[in-house]
Symmetry: C2
Subunit: 233 residues, 2 copies
């Protein structure tokens, strides 16, 4: 292209990218979306979805664009994780990456799981392969962050459908924390927060007592947050 080498700066600049640690929940397990790399370096290795930051977007907008372009996802819960700037983290050139973690709900999860592109795959977090670049480190940090987050902010809902049962919610918490939780104590606590709205709807077509559906009460959450309430689990 004749226009190449168009962008000139007085001082050298690292390239700026965003990477996304995308979590889903399926089969009682926390899952992670990984892409298989088509090119060198790390060809055929798995990596986090990522890409360069454009001049007309913030890093968060970039992360969201990547989720849309690489996974077809919109409206995902996303939060900044950490910025990685080790000089040799990419063998090609200096790339500083702002990492985000994101949570997809069941609907989004199934969309993705149902695609036939082989390049994107959900991995159980207990079976994450060796990844390209410093991505294992990023995933580890994202998991740690999620584990911390879940203790003081109601974030488990993001991994479920809008309607969910308390057992499903408990399973999400158990998957994130990698620990068993007592059913009665969990319900007491989570209902006591006043963030769940009981629906007049129950499971159907289950070969056991049908569980009631709940949904997250955003309005109550906003009000309680503003009044300084704390959501420790």
């Amino acid at each position: 292209m004749s226009d190449s080498h168009k962008y000139r700066y007085e001082h050298p600049r690292p390239a700026l990218a965003a990477d996304c640690v995308l979590f889903g929940f399926d089969g009682g397990e926390l899952k992670l979306l990984l892409l298989e790399r088509e090119n060198e370096p790390f060809k055929n290795k798995c990596a986090l979805p990522g890409g360069f930051v454009y001049m007309n977007e913030t890093t968060e907008e970039c992360a969201k664009r990547i989720l849309l372009e690489k996974a077809g996802l919109k409206n995902v819960f996303i939060e900044q994780l950490y910025t990685y700037s080790e000089i040799d983290r990419d063998p090609r050139e200096r790339i500083v990456s702002v990492a985000y973690y994101a949570l997809v709900n069941r609907h989004q999860f199934e969309l993705l799981a149902g695609r036939d592109t082989v390049r994107a795959e959900w991995y159980s977090i207990s079976e994450i392969p060796k990844l390209a670049f410093d991505h294992n480190k990023i995933v580890k940090a994202a998991l740690q962050r999620l584990r911390g987050k879940v203790r003081y902010q109601p974030v488990g809902f993001e991994l479920l459908n809008e309607k969910f049962t308390l057992t499903q919610l408990q399973q999400v918490y158990e998957a994130i924390l990698a620990a068993a939780i007592d059913k009665r104590n969990f319900r007491k606590k989570i209902l006591g927060m006043g963030l769940l709205k009981e629906l007049d709807e129950k499971e159907t077509n289950v070969a056991h007592k049908a569980a009631r559906y709940y949904r997250f009460d955003k309005k109550a959450y906003k009000e309680l947050t503003q009044s300084g309430f704390n959501f420790e689990l």
Copy 2:
């Protein structure tokens, strides 16, 4: 310079900078170091110490270098806060900034307070002026982070001398949390963590019962951290 416009890239890149929110503790108050800007934009406004990231340093190394160059500080506790990438956060050009927060001990604080350069000044966090760029937002986030951090990691020590009294430590916690703490409960809790080493030394030249000095026991901290212990206050 004849070598200008030397650095060319296929795609435009934001400039990358680091900014530091530097906290100190004095007079029972949490303080913040601000520099008065000498140039436009925001000439004569206060701003956080910051600067561009070199190609041979990580963003954290950059933040440390800035603390050395602009405040003469070495060996400060520093931690990444958040990366700010709003497109217009700097009126000159697109600059993405990785913000860090840092804690200086009493020795470092006094060094800085004793300098005669007018450009750097400690401000009480209750009296922070309107700052350049998006720096008020960054400071607010740093305070929030520090308040969260202090609840589950022993970080108050970083703002004191190596030797400190329990009352001093309590004052640090009170300043950070902006809340009064009960003396007996604080002592019970903090001593119960097993992270303080009681010294055979007491205050001198005080017109009241001399308080015992303690120091932070790094070794015990490491061991307890590795064994998965939790340091909630």
